[in-house]
Assembly symmetry: C2
Homo-oligomer: 508 residues x 2
């Protein structure tokens, strides 16, 4: 096989021309160009980087109709969702343009000399974050725009001053070619050097990218299995490199007895809408709902599910894995099917939603069997009889991107204890809502302890996603004209800096 | 072998009673206690953490005479150096106390709701950095105080809200027991929970620590080989954890032709003093000096070395490795011995300094043979005939903690080009000085690309060392009373926060 073929999830029929896999020799040339470009990209003024990011966003907006049509053909996620995802993709690029221009993300620090410092006099020391070097980005299947060729990893790496080589996802090869052409063209027009950006295709090329000596870090969004395999390559190199994988997440949501009594119907509606959104193909899908035993919501849950239409899954492989995993979960002892898994015959990658339930003691008897991600429209209700059972279940949870709580107005003490507990194993704690929908802001954290990610310090969404691609350089007693502009006495860029411990944008 | 024995480097004789290696069962209990303590330590008010760090520093100062005497007996680094290192150790603890109390390092962020946000209305989102959980710290041989039981890794991890388990270095077991007792006592008196701190001994216990499910991150300072072996364990776990290793570094220093002409004598004196300081056992030892061919400094260099007395090396193993490596380097074709390697007969781990030289073409013919760290008082002069040769040599350098430049006053353009080039492969760029001596400040970066460290984003010295032990948690629409204090509307802690993108300590 030397090509990647896209398929229409609605029919399973091939769609668009096959895309050639990137041959080894071409990958070599791409990596060499990225290595040569790295110091040039990192040396560009922040303002030039910001303009380039805005130019990419503008070019994507200009091509909206073509992009959304092709994305829908290859993913069947629907025009409204994909139009919204394109807006988000552009907003991300523009957010990084804003923060690059503002300058805080480069964390300029100046410590002036101090002859009285202990144990020894202190020299002039200045620190700034620079780009790591060429970055590999693995696109996601489920966000063909926002986590793909022009997605958050690409935007944050360019913002950091790093060339980017994107491994396209095989679920949307045609879209990846189109977006790659648009991004490369916009960057070239904005004056960025050759080698700043490229898209590659094929599993072998992807593995070779992670292994390549010129690549200094990798971002990945996808499955636990695929991510772990690439992580293992990255950390086994003679020179290990950072690998930021966003892998699997169960996203537990706790509902207190008071919340069931106060707003059970709304919770049922919100939960079913959230776990079936995008056919359940969100990394933030609420896969676990912790309800008090005797909640009496089975009929409401089943009804809400039967009122829900889900689109086809992204690929035939995802469809098979969904059907297999749902069947396997339903067969675990003491698991009750509120909505049993039923494979769907017919065209395309069509599946039906599943909703299972299990009491806490049965969950704790075999947590590995049940606390496993079922990518697609499936979820598990976990029923706790006591608060001790609830806490034991929460302590058994693997790391998640998110964890949620629905509590009644008067339950402050109980809610406080649960919030503190779920915060130990999750990157984002959501109160009275649902985890799908990830705002792109300074405060967002889209990450979490293993297996949610390979690195609990980092986020793949929000401003601080840039940090994955930055390394500090300190300058000691370096004369002003030889310093990067951001560190010179006059602060010609007028960026915020920490001078002798205090934040200021004033010159020294 | 079930004990660790300290030795006097001056005589090779055993010193002090043997220290029992930590048995598996005891390690299990220590890790369980650390796991139980983790949420309690992380929930302590920042002010309590700060007081505890100050209490540790005060307890160390109180025991200065005993600590320095025992440290000198086990390491032979000398009383003046060890007294200064103790001051530095206490200054580090107090710096982290200051920054924890000030609060910037927790990076509180508040993004208020925005109904007009695109592509969707934005909820209330607030982000804070919390402690990762129990941290393993591997002590260094060469800094028995500042990078050991009460060193920078311990101080920064406690500051982050993490329990700490220190693996003592076998070169100073008695000192580790003493310091461990002092630190544990001070933390207990300061009200920190049981399980906050422990010291373990023995290689097997160290490996088991890295593998232990309760340990969430590891800090290490030591050799490339030892660090890589532990890194491999950390990343091969079912749940890989961050491993921050500071490994080997060559710390190249470039001297321009103008600088040789202007201040050759001072450069010779400074270089020899720096590379033989502490018997060359600094991670920042300038191991490579890049001089213009025909520099005419051989006699001055040899004279400066012969005027220098170096103390014994820390251990018999370090002594053997030094003698072997120095001989091996001297035997590489075209290497010239300015001061040939001469093994020293006699008591203790005594060695003589070595200084070798090689032209750039010979270096580039076999960079792996020559660009290797020789721990101890050895260095290599690299002679460049043209600027192209200089640049080629710099581009062949592995990642280093530091890189230096000596240039003459008028060489601004040349100096600027060299500064930009050496900054690509080093964590700290030093102008007109020497890399030994690492200030403990906001701007310090003590890190660098592989093999200087296992993680180019992080530093083991300076304020931002705390970041290695912190993970973000975001709170979405969580009611004010359920939020951590640092994120509440009223900002009761009065810490700096980024509210809607702007830094402020004001309440909302």
């Amino acid at each position: 096989m030397t090509t990647v073929q896209g398929y229409d999830p609605r029919t399973s029929a091939p769609i668009g021309p096959p895309v050639p896999m990137t041959p080894a020799q071409e990958l070599e040339a791409i990596c060499a160009a990225a290595k040569a470009a790295a110091p040039l990209v990192d040396a560009l003024p922040y303002s030039t980087r910001a303009e380039a990011l805005r130019a990419v966003a503008a070019a994507l907006r200009d091509a909206e109709a073509d992009i959304v049509a092709l994305a829908d053909a290859e993913t069947a996620l629907g025009v409204p969702r994909l139009s919204s995802e394109l807006v988000r993709t552009c907003v991300q690029l523009e957010m990084f343009a804003d923060v690059v221009a503002e300058g805080s993300v480069f964390e300029a620090v100046v410590d002036l000399p101090d002859a009285a410092a202990k144990p020894a006099p202190r020299p002039d020391l200045r620190r700034i974050l620079v780009g790591l070097g060429p970055v590999g980005v693995f696109s996601a299947s489920n966000f063909p725009l926002a986590f793909s060729v022009a997605g958050g990893d690409t935007a944050s790496a360019l913002a950091a001053g790093c060339p980017v080589i994107v491994k396209a996802h095989s679920a949307h090869p045609g879209l990846s070619v189109l977006c790659g052409r648009i991004v490369a063209g916009a960057l070239k027009d904005a004056g960025l050097p050759d080698g700043t950006f490229a898209v590659i295709h094929g599993t072998d090329a992807g593995r070779a990218l992670v292994r390549h000596p010129s690549v200094t870090a990798v971002g990945f969004t996808g499955s636990l299995q695929g991510g772990r395999a690439l992580f293992d390559i990255a950390v086994s190199r003679p020179d290990p490199i950072p690998f930021y994988g966003e892998l699997g997440s169960l996203n537990p949501v706790v509902v207190t007895p008071g919340a069931v009594a106060e707003s059970g119907a709304e919770i049922v509606a919100g939960f079913v809408a959230s776990y079936t959104l995008g056919a359940g193909q969100f990394c933030t899908k609420p896969g676990l709902l912790l309800l008090p035993a005797g909640h009496g919501l089975d009929a409401a849950l089943a009804g809400a599910v039967s009122d829900t239409t889900v689109g086809p899954l992204l690929t035939g492989r995802i469809q098979e894995a969904y059907d297999d995993t749902a069947q396997r979960l339903a067969a675990v002892p003491e698991v009750r099917s509120i909505v049993p898994p039923v494979p769907v015959d017919g065209h395309g990658h069509v599946v039906a939603p599943t909703l299972l339930a299990v009491p806490v003691p049965a969950l704790l008897a075999d947590p590995d069997a049940l606390l496993t991600e079922c990518f697609g429209p499936a979820a598990l209700v976990i029923e706790y009889s006591t608060m001790d059972e609830l806490h034991a279940a929460l302590d058994a949870m693997p790391g998640s991107l998110t964890a949620g709580l629905h509590a009644a107005a008067g339950e402050t003490e109980l809610a406080g204890a649960i919030v503190a507990r779920i915060a130990r194993r999750a990157g984002r704690v959501i109160y009275g809502g649902w985890p799908t929908g990830v705002a792109v802001t300074w405060a967002m954290h889209h990450g979490g302890p293993w297996p949610a990610t390979t690195g609990p310090l980092h986020t793949s969404v929000g401003v601080t996603a840039i940090r994955r691609w930055q390394r500090p350089v300190a300058y000691q007693n370096v004369p002003d004209p030889l310093l990067p502009e951001a560190l010179r006495n006059g602060n010609p860029l007028r960026i915020p800096r920490r001078v002798n411990g205090r934040l200021t944008a004033d010159p020294i």
